[in-house]
Symmetry: C2
Subunit: 441 residues, 2 copies
Amino acid sequence: MSTPSHGTRLDPWFDSYAERAHGMRSSEIRALFAVASRPEVVSLAGGMPNLSSLPMDHIAEISARLLRDRGTRALQYGSGQGEVETREAILDVMQYDSIRVHPDDVVVTTGSQQALDLVTEIFIDPGDVIVAEAPSYVGALGVFRAYQADVVHTPMDDDGLIPEELDATLTRLKSEGRRVKLLYTVPNYHNPAGVTLSLERRPQIVEICRKHHVLILEDNPYGLLGFHSDPMPALKSFDPDGVIYLGSFSKMFGPGYRIGWAAAPHAVREKLVLASESAILCPSQLGQLSIVEYLNTWDWYGQVKQYRGEYRTRAEAMMSALSEYLPMCEWTKPEGGFYTWVTLPDGLDAKAMLPRAVKNLVAYVSGTAFYTDGQGGDHMRLSFCYPTPEAIREGVRRLSQVVRSELETVELFGTNIRPDAEAPPREGGNGRIDTPTPDQV
Amino acid sequence: MSTPSHGTRLDPWFDSYAERAHGMRSSEIRALFAVASRPEVVSLAGGMPNLSSLPMDHIAEISARLLRDRGTRALQYGSGQGEVETREAILDVMQYDSIRVHPDDVVVTTGSQQALDLVTEIFIDPGDVIVAEAPSYVGALGVFRAYQADVVHTPMDDDGLIPEELDATLTRLKSEGRRVKLLYTVPNYHNPAGVTLSLERRPQIVEICRKHHVLILEDNPYGLLGFHSDPMPALKSFDPDGVIYLGSFSKMFGPGYRIGWAAAPHAVREKLVLASESAILCPSQLGQLSIVEYLNTWDWYGQVKQYRGEYRTRAEAMMSALSEYLPMCEWTKPEGGFYTWVTLPDGLDAKAMLPRAVKNLVAYVSGTAFYTDGQGGDHMRLSFCYPTPEAIREGVRRLSQVVRSELETVELFGTNIRPDAEAPPREGGNGRIDTPTPDQV
């Protein structure tokens, strides 16, 4: 895949880039992930949903019918905001989050990633502050960096965002004269932390943001994938005008369509549509109509329940393997979603350890990817969404060999030895973060 | 559809927008186009391709097979750069433009509109200059505005960009200390002008840009749609390192997949991939694999020739109708593509006339949409791609009634009376341009 940039000698346009582009370069992590994608490596790094239980014959049939009966519409340009029938179908999906809005307030996007990009584009001037959980979704941090936002992390515990800490963070930033534009949060089955914001805290978070006049950006790709339960009410349900809600068909159906959405306050929605038309003209008509057909002709919520069972089985395999092989670590106990967040023993550095893990045929994402301020070296994100339970178990076993070997090194030398002696102990602290690859997010 | 923004009273987040978002608002034009999309109106405004000759049964069959046989891949995330097989298929398509590059240098995007957005994102700081044809594609001007570029127009004649004028423009800008980052050009069957850059001028344009160290952004959605001939060599073929080439499947196949691409110098390609991953993670896997299947299982170039015949018939209908009904106007004679550029008689204003045209059940795009500096009021863009030849003829007839009525008004009062006396005679001159709707571009 990508190789690092080599400067002016090999790039005749080096002097022409915009300010914002100079921070864009391939990280070491990317090169490593090219290796990590080999089949002999167990990847506990990726965020790819497991699609094997989808009713492919039915999907093939409705897709063929769509193209035969309405092909000239399915393959044509459409509305920049997305088709009315897509937006109405999205309202049905959001009912499970207790969200009740008008289809006019929904904007269909190229995955919810594009919605993240559009919201950041319309709200963030360079230097504006976005408050985000510590840790935060790496793909959101990449977008925020592209628009030159300053991200300030605020802590979580096992019940998600801590209201008092958020209030203190916002109060402090205000007293420093900083302009806080957004709170970015993943309330359900957090990526990467695996925790969920408690029901009790939800109205508190909304109220704190209202008090400080901070718009909430609620990102909810995993909400339907609770192992044991339907979703709790979204933040959006407590204050429709104070929250932009992002949803996605990627995890509850399939990401290959690239269809997500934003449900936004009315005036904001208008700007989102204009920005999206500028960026892509319109979302894929084929993707939209295919999804509407699926929702209308299949027990899609039954399929969601099937997914829940599969991910629960995989999460249980990971929890049990962690207990058996990595008792020297701590980890969160997710009630849904794709991830657990592992704390390494003192002295170990997840980023420094990663090349040795990949050499031992297991991959994860270093915790450093999920912060903008250099934290996270003592954490790893492990995902259980894609590999089989057996592969998860084997992956954790391989990981334990690496952790034990690192611990021996620490005992001998007082710290673990880095593979590249010239590199600083941790990336970050300079505003740079690792760029995610699509199979990492 | 959209309604104008009403300020703080109705938008609680009015004070939170980024600088770049304050220029984003729905134009009067958009409201008008909601009316113009009614079935009784003949729209000579849209840029929608005519898809009725596509082999829908075959497309339905290969789509169903793809989902049945490779569904878990087609509906999964993919590479941020696009799949290797898509990029190899794109090389086959670009052969017709005499472009020979490596698949590594191709980035697959959500339509070529996203490629336009990404290139602008990585090269343009606010205030940088982009030189563009006078007139230019409205969707590109919208992107350039979103990134706060200054667009400087340079003239064309019936053979496209005029090399001497381009050289003079670049020399003048340099002497003024302006930073020119890009030349944006649509060399084939120009949107909106309908002209094509001559073979003789192509190496001259490339040489002038090389001399001034200006990167060329060559946008070529219509190149395969010449009425009588295969494409001339692309600018990219003369200097692969000096040109970013944008291509699209939207006009040679169908826009509903939302798949386009950029072929860029190697180092630039790397940044495009990083920017695209930040914006959308990856392009639609389903769209990509469907297109590859189509290219591999159908005589797609035969289909392109079929399209050429259909658009030639429609262009001939328009030329003949213009001669019959609008002899008081002038217009360009396109050799391919979707558009002709009409010059109105002295004293007529295309933008002021548009509401009256829509009232007379015919729509076009005012020339003002295609400039950033307030020019264009004496022009209309007429498209012949979508309506039937009979509808085109009827549309031009209705348009002639409006033009004649306007001319009578001019003769009586010395100018045409505007529908809204408070509005300035032309939008523009203040950096604002009309925002395009998807069916307008």
